[in-house]
């Protein structure tokens, strides 16, 4: 059931084809967009709703991206900052696919190991084990160093 307070926002701007990311933690929308590589040169319309009242979370952010579908790898990247988000694929103004973001147990080739003297900086594919989703705690499968949210550059 959609809260009547919420429905006004959801109606705000329907998109024909693209992605609606719902249940983004309050204040994280711009970070998520940056991770997805969506910046001012993006050809479609991007709508960001911030501080939307939410029945579950108090407040949340919503992102609507016109003309862009997300790959699984992109969703994995986003999962660290928005672990409870839902990714809705929109075609012809209707939701054709709904995907609840899950923090994967392993991030393979998604983010770089921050350690400059890690083997994955010179060869191989970075692999970070997600030891904890919230707060984020990652461990490099190679150099074994442990990182929090602030250490990771997306």
């Amino acid at each position: 059931m959609i809260d009547p307070k919420e429905s006004a926002y959801l109606k705000a701007k329907k998109i024909e084809t693209g992605t609606v990311i719902d249940h983004v933690p309050k204040g994280m929308a711009l970070k998520v967009l940056r991770v997805l590589g969506i910046e001012d040169d993006f050809p479609g319309t991007v709508t960001v709703l911030m501080n939307v009242p939410s029945s579950h979370y108090g407040f949340k952010d919503i992102i609507k991206i016109e003309g862009r579908l997300l790959a699984k790898k992109e969703i994995a990247k986003m999962a660290l900052m928005a672990p409870a988000a839902t990714v809705n694929t929109i075609q012809n103004f209707t939701v054709v696919d709904k995907y609840v973001v899950q923090v994967p147990s392993v991030l393979e080739g998604v983010v770089m190991c921050p350690n400059p003297t890690c083997i994955t900086r010179s060869e191989g594919t970075p692999r970070l084990l997600v030891e904890n989703a919230s707060p984020v705690r990652l461990r490099c499968a190679y150099c074994e160093k442990v990182y929090g949210d602030k250490d990771i550059t997306y």
């Binding site: 890690c118 083997i119 190679y142 150099c143 074994e144 160093k145």
Partner: protein, 298 residues
């Protein structure tokens, strides 16, 4: 099976190695060569030179009746000509039954282990791990103190970058021990390692050696400090004056080579066990090689 880190080792594996090391001690002392690994070849790839660790592995392989090939001068290898680790491993795979590897780059042995079915033993990767050292350290405790449980083990020196103390923290965490940390403020044990072990074992920072049953000294290296004065302030030396403040039945260990952490006069004290410790490397590595090579089908 590989030996890359002590972080994920089981106590059963550790106990098995200690038991086997005990069995090999006599042969190691008598410098007697067995036939356990007859016909097997160990590749010792030391991308970062360390004659001590390399010779210890080579001696262990010879005692088991095997032989070895390898290098210890990275300048003479193709790695210095830009060959990837992946290529080096594929080449070595053609003539060895196991690989022992030291590398300045953290995680290099873990990557090597993924590239080959041969057992890979990490003999030190950057500031990360040195698991065979930790196992021989435990074996030293068992032999010299008669037990591991119940001991208070003090780790001194560079605890931030010291791979031997990182490995030892995890290895000790399987036992009922108290771990004490003694280091300059800028070289403290990484918080992540303390967090990994603190549910199993007590860890606290100390400012003297008075309660320790085991004093495990490590080097403090000049290159870790930008400031010469801070380096000087961070140095510590176990000398005769310091010995009087260490328990009379304690033992003093050091992974060697030492620089100024232990004064030469301490060598004559009955508590000095670092040369014994170095010898225990041979039976411990015999146990490791037998376990890993024996378990592989190649």
């Amino acid at each position: 099976m590989d030996l890359i880190t002590t972080r994920t080792l089981s106590k059963a594996f550790i106990e098995d190695i200690l038991q086997k090391a005990q069995g090999y001690e006599k042969a190691a002392r008598a410098k007697k060569n067995l036939t356990v690994l007859k016909g097997k070849t160990l590749a010792t790839l030391f991308f970062e030179p360390s004659t001590r660790t390399q010779m210890s592995f080579q001696a262990a392989m010879l005692r088991l009746g095997g032989n070895f090939v390898g290098f210890s001068d990275p300048k003479s290898t193709s790695a210095s000509k830009g060959e990837t680790l992946a290529d080096t491993i594929r080449v070595v795979e053609g003539y060895a039954h196991a690989i022992v590897m030291r590398h300045a780059v953290e995680g290099a042995p873990a990557r090597a282990a993924e590239l080959t079915d041969l057992p890979v033993i990490n003999a030190g990767d950057g500031s990360n791990q040195h698991p065979s050292q930790a196992l021989l350290d435990l074996f030293t405790l068992q032999q010299e103190k008669g037990k591991i449980d119940g001991l208070t083990v003090l780790l001194a020196g560079d605890l931030k970058y010291g791979r031997t103390v990182h490995s030892l923290m995890y290895a000790l965490s399987h036992y009922d021990v108290d771990i004490q940390l003694f280091s300059p403020p800028s070289l403290k044990m990484p918080e992540s390692i303390v967090n990994d072990v603190k549910e199993r074992v007590s860890v606290k920072e100390v400012t003297d050696f008075g309660d320790a049953d085991v004093v495990y000294a490590t080097r403090v290296q000049r290159e870790r400090f930008a400031d010469a004065e801070e380096y000087q302030r961070s140095l510590y030396t176990i000398d005769e004056a310091m010995l009087s403040k260490i328990k009379s039945d304690a033992i003093i260990l050091h992974p060697l080579p030492r620089v100024k952490e232990i004064a030469p006069e301490v060598d004559l004290d009955s508590r000095a066990k670092y040369f014994q410790q170095s010898f225990y490397g041979v039976p411990t590595r015999m146990a490791i090689l037998e376990t890993l090579i024996g378990a592989s089908n190649d």
